[in-house]
């Protein structure tokens, strides 16, 4: 990705540090995530040190440094899911997909994240795939739901 691809997005923002968060949002809206080249372009445009851009971006869960998969898996870590074993569900999802939370499989099929609460505590433990909730999970159900993805370097 060359910085020129971002030019139309960058040019709608003033070259000032205080545009940083809106600029990051706009860049992510265009690219789906924030690759290093985009961070560099944002840093230069907003005249903010790169380290600060990372500092800000890594503070907010809305910003991603990896591309999302075609299937976005979100494991609920809310209180109800937690007490009914969300940790085991997350571990199983990680094992099955071969990636850690915040990563994407090499084929870009799956990305895995956690959310504070999906909002359907009656169905706990649960996860969602592209917004569709799978309920009352067990590690076995998780295994069945996802084909086992070969472990590879996450993108």
């Amino acid at each position: 990705m060359e910085a020129t691809e971002l030019r139309p997005v960058l040019d709608t923002f003033e070259r000032r540090p205080d545009v940083l968060i809106s600029l990051l949002q706009a860049v992510q809206a265009r690219l789906g995530y924030l690759p290093p080249e985009a961070i560099d372009a944002v840093a230069r445009h907003a005249r903010v040190p790169r380290s600060r851009v990372y500092g800000v971006a890594s503070f907010y869960s809305q910003f991603r440094f990896n591309p999302v998969g075609r299937q976005r898996v979100a494991v609920c870590r809310g209180t109800a899911c937690h007490v009914s074993g969300a940790r085991l569900i997350l571990e199983e999802a990680e094992r099955t997909l071969g990636i850690h939370e915040g990563e994407t499989t090499a084929d870009r099929e799956y990305s895995l994240e956690t959310v504070a609460c999906i909002g359907c505590c009656g169905l706990s433990p649960c996860l969602s795939v592209n917004g569709e909730v799978s309920a009352k999970l067990t590690p076995k159900k998780v295994r069945k739901q996802f084909r086992t993805v070969k472990k590879g370097a996450p993108e």
Partner: protein, 895 residues
């Protein structure tokens, strides 16, 4: 009791009544009164952070962190209550157990402040061992060639992060992955070298635990305080010596120019001194080959040949790397012994327009202010200077000014690093500075933002100048500069309404065929707003080399004796004739380009080239190489066998700055001591000895100085601006000239009351725009501008002998805008051929928006890609500086 300015308060500290400055913190007061309060994140150069939670004290019954608690009248401070002790002990224990390495396996020993604090409190580290973090320490980051980061012993005090931010202004590092796994870095998973780190090491010297530590560090046997040999910032350094080797360097905190700060070259760039390929023996060309010879043979040969070539067939090129004393003796040799004024040096290629221009307008061609005072400017206009790369320590003051709320305007075709801190960035077309500055001045005059009282009281020529502004209307300025006029007007208003305002400039202003006009435009702007003569204001040309100011001051110029006393003034000449006991030429001599150019017509037959490398540094370098090949007799005196030395008939091995006594004069006119740290390497000798010895062998008198201090006394007796300078007087923090006599303390700000012109007044100059000599056309469609890398110095004779610097930047890069790169189908890393009317060079491309569309840039540090074979030797009619900032080129991909 208390002065208005220094208000004091009374506090009780552990039962003692103490008077303290009202601005002090509790920690300051305690430490100043011999009461130790544990602290890790406090550093006197940084704003208080209150982050490490170790400095808890009890103030009137409340527990506060001492480092960011101001003292208040009547407060009772207790550092040793039970509650304080328990709290601090707890905090220290938590830090210790969060540490991956304990007392047993940590190598830092007493270098570690945490260890000292634990011992002060009396903590049994062994008892704590079972609480220690169980997982293995993260790996040590060794990606930087000069230092390493060990997260295992990092206490996250943040001193490094704040140093990089507050002191250096780079902000390369921050806390990464905040939480239990926090480390210091630039991005999750990134190595230190992936960051924007400039390797200055300022964080390393402040790290309290040794988590950041120097690699290959050696504790020296002894240290010698001297002045750095690289750029004109003139930083004080302590060179560490073991045996005959330089093994370390650290900043001198007492030095007013750098206050202990150093850049990567100053701190890590001393390795060249002991490089194995230093010239250690004189060389004489025999049957076409340079072979070793004895000093007697070499000097006798040189003396005989120089005797043959007395008069105007002889020329010397002096060096801005030599001390003042050496330059003085060298120009004295040329004038008194050789009977010619043909002496010049590389200032011709960098700041001759400054000397020519500012002498006309202000009466003195030097920086009007002081480095430290720049930090207190309310507005800095940085034009044609890549300050962070070329003058890193001056750049720290720019950062300080910005942090204090001062405005920063950056004007440069390239988006130089300083732009990051700027309020306004104007990217003008290369070579359009006169139009841009005149456009700004027109706005200032039209809107009545100038200073009529100052102009009336102190300046001449305003009306004529004002008329010349008429030519610079909005449309013309926009067309010539390529900058929207609204930006020009905004810059004008910002500069004119925030005072004191300083202008910084460097090669971007001077290296043009209209360099003198550029300089005059700069001085017009400063005069117009009454900024010359004000502290933290003024006109500040940043001088490039460690002693380029001094080399000019010493008269290593064809038209002036030391102290800018003109050779064509009879009364001046008589003074020097009396002092030197010789008849002196009243005709100004040849300039740098004219000397090399003079070889072809047979006008110049012998050249004495000292400490300079025209084969790489001269515009149209092929022509310079040809001249050095052609000339009848070429003597090169240098520390290495440079590209130019390969053309020599005799090569004389000189000593480096670390091997001699003398003085350098830095960019802020500060004359500072250079001290011998080690004996000259091999059979090399100081330039002072060599030149004096040649003169003696030619039978000349007046070259028997007992020491460099002795030479300085002679300089002082003949040079009014150095009249009060002696080695003894500058022992401590140096003296800024003018210093007319031994009771004078030197001059911090020039022109506060009168200008050193005949009338005592400054002069405005009416100006017109002149285009660069060579503009892009169909055949050569791009503009090439030259620049510098932070990691190398000029032709990198010294820096490329430092492996770490070579690792940080090892090759030439042709920087170009993505649009130009796309048109040429070139990506970063591709080989490209750059061709001008004079030559061609092959190097890798770096695609970056730092370059504006249509303009590429290259450094001139690398002999493999000698950029100056491309540049244009067309020169400024007044200053005779070649136009190395603009030439037309063509770029092609090499497939």
């Amino acid at each position: 009791m208390s002065d208005e300015r220094i208000r004091t308060v009374r506090v009780t500290l552990d039962g003692q009544t103490i008077e303290a400055a009202a601005s002090a913190t509790v920690l300051d007061v305690a430490l100043a009164n011999g009461v130790f309060i544990p602290h890790l994140c406090h550093h006197p150069d940084l704003r208080p952070a209150g982050a490490c939670r170790l400095c808890f004290v009890d103030v009137d019954g409340r527990m506060v962190t001492a480092c960011n608690a101001p003292v208040v009248e009547g407060a009772t401070i207790r550092t040793n209550t039970d509650a304080v002790k328990t709290t601090v002990r707890g905090a220290v224990e938590l830090l210790l157990v969060n540490h991956h390495r304990g007392a047993v396996d940590c190598e830092e020993g007493d270098a570690c402040e945490l260890r000292k604090i634990a011992r002060f409190i009396g903590i049994d580290e062994v008892r704590l061992a079972r609480f220690r973090r169980p997982e293995p320490a993260p790996p040590v980051d060794t990606s930087n060639p000069f230092f390493e980061y060990d997260p295992g012993i990092c206490v996250l005090c943040g001193i490094c992060v704040r140093t990089c931010d507050e002191v250096v202004g780079v902000s390369a590092i921050d806390f990464v992955r905040r939480g239990v796994h926090t480390t210091i870095g630039s991005a999750p998973g990134a190595k230190w070298m992936d960051s924007d780190c400039v390797s200055c090491g300022e964080c390393v010297v402040r790290c309290p635990t040794g988590s950041l530590s120097m690699r290959d560090s050696e504790v020296p046997e002894r240290e010698v305080r001297t002045t750095c040999t690289y750029c004109g910032c003139g930083c004080g350094i302590h060179l560490g010596v073991t045996g005959g080797r330089i093994v370390s360097a650290r900043g001198v905190r007492e030095n007013p120019s750098n206050e202990g700060r150093l850049c990567v070259k100053g701190r890590f760039g001393y390795g060249f001194v002991n490089a194995p390929d230093r010239l250690k023996k004189p060389l004489i060309r025999r049957d076409g080959v340079l072979v070793e010879a004895s000093w007697d043979e070499a000097l006798d040969l040189v003396a005989a040949k120089f005797t043959e070539h007395r008069g105007d067939a002889f020329a010397a090129i002096a060096s801005a790397k030599l001390t003042n004393e050496e330059n003085y003796v060298l120009q004295k040799f040329v004038r008194a012994v050789q009977g010619t004024n043909n002496v010049d040096h590389c200032a011709r290629l960098c700041h001759s327009p400054t000397v020519a221009g500012l002498v006309q307008s202000l009466g003195s061609g030097a920086m009007t202010g002081t480095t430290k005072d720049l930090g207190d400017s309310r507005c800095i206009l940085a034009i044609g200077t890549n300050t962070t790369a070329a003058h890193p320590i001056v750049a720290l003051q720019v950062v300080r000014a910005v942090h204090q709320g001062g405005k920063l305007i950056v004007i440069n075709p390239r988006e130089v690093d300083l732009a990051r801190h700027a309020d306004l960035v104007l990217r003008n077309r290369a070579g359009s500075d006169v139009a841009l500055l005149m456009g700004m001045m027109r706005v200032i005059v039209d809107e009545g933002l100038h200073d009529p009282a100052y102009i009336a009281a102190r300046c001449d020529g305003f009306d004529e100048f004002r008329e010349s502004l008429a030519r610079f209307d909005a449309a013309t300025v926009e067309e010539l500069t390529g900058v929207p006029f609204a930006q020009v007007a905004a810059a004008a208003r910002m500069y004119a309404t925030n005072g004191p305002a300083s202008i910084l400039y460097a090669m971007g202003i001077t290296q043009h065929t209209h360099g003198t006009d550029n300089v005059l435009a700069v001085s017009n702007l400063a005069l117009l707003t009454g900024n010359v003569g004000r502290t933290s204001g003024g006109v500040n040309p940043l001088r490039g080399q460690s002693n380029v100011q001094g080399a000019c001051d010493m008269g290593a110029l064809p038209n002036v004796f030391p102290g800018y006393q003109r050779v064509d003034r009879p009364e001046v000449r008589e003074k020097f004739e009396r002092a030197w006991g010789a008849r002196l030429d009243d005709m100004p001599g040849l300039t740098h380009l004219e000397i090399l150019g003079g070889v072809t017509g047979g006008r110049i037959r012998a050249i004495y080239l000292v400490g300079e490398n025209p084969a790489l540094s001269e515009a149209d370098a092929n022509h310079a190489r040809h001249a050095m090949e052609e000339v009848d007799f070429l003597v090169v005196q240098d520390i290495f066998l440079t590209e130019s030395a390969e053309y020599a008939d005799v090569v004389l091995p000189a000593a480096t700055f670390a091997e001699k006594d003398g003085t350098f004069t830095n960019t802020e006119r500060r004359v500072q001591r250079v001290r011998r740290a080690i004996d000259p390497v091999g059979d090399s000798r100081t330039d002072l000895w060599i030149t004096s010895e040649i003169a003696r062998r030619m039978g000349a008198a007046g070259f028997d100085h007992a020491s460099a201090a002795d030479v300085m006394d002679e300089i002082a007796s003949l040079t009014p601006i150095y009249g009060g300078v002696t080695h003894e007087r500058i022992e401590g923090s140096g003296i800024q000239w003018p210093c007319p006599d031994s009771s004078h303390a030197g001059t911090r700000t020039l022109h506060t009351e009168r200008f050193p012109t005949a009338s005592g007044r400054a002069r405005f100059f009416a100006l017109a725009y002149r285009a660069p000599d060579e503009e892009p056309d169909a055949e050569f469609p791009l503009v090439l501008t030259t620049e510098r890398s932070l990691y190398h110095y000029h032709t990198s004779t010294m820096t490329r002998r430092v492996p770490g610097l070579e690792q940080l930047r090892g090759e030439e890069l042709v920087e170009m805008h993505p649009r130009d790169a796309a048109a040429l189908r070139v990506s970063s890393g591709d080989q490209v051929r750059v061709t001008s009317r004079r030559g061609e060079v092959v190097a890798r491309a770096l695609v970056t928006e730092v370059s504006p569309p249509g303009t590429i840039s290259m450094t001139f540090h690398f002999h493999e890609a000698p950029t100056n074979v491309l540049t244009n030797a067309a020169f400024d009619p007044v200053a005779k500086i070649p136009e190395t900032k603009v030439c037309a080129v063509r770029v092609e991909a090499v497939r």
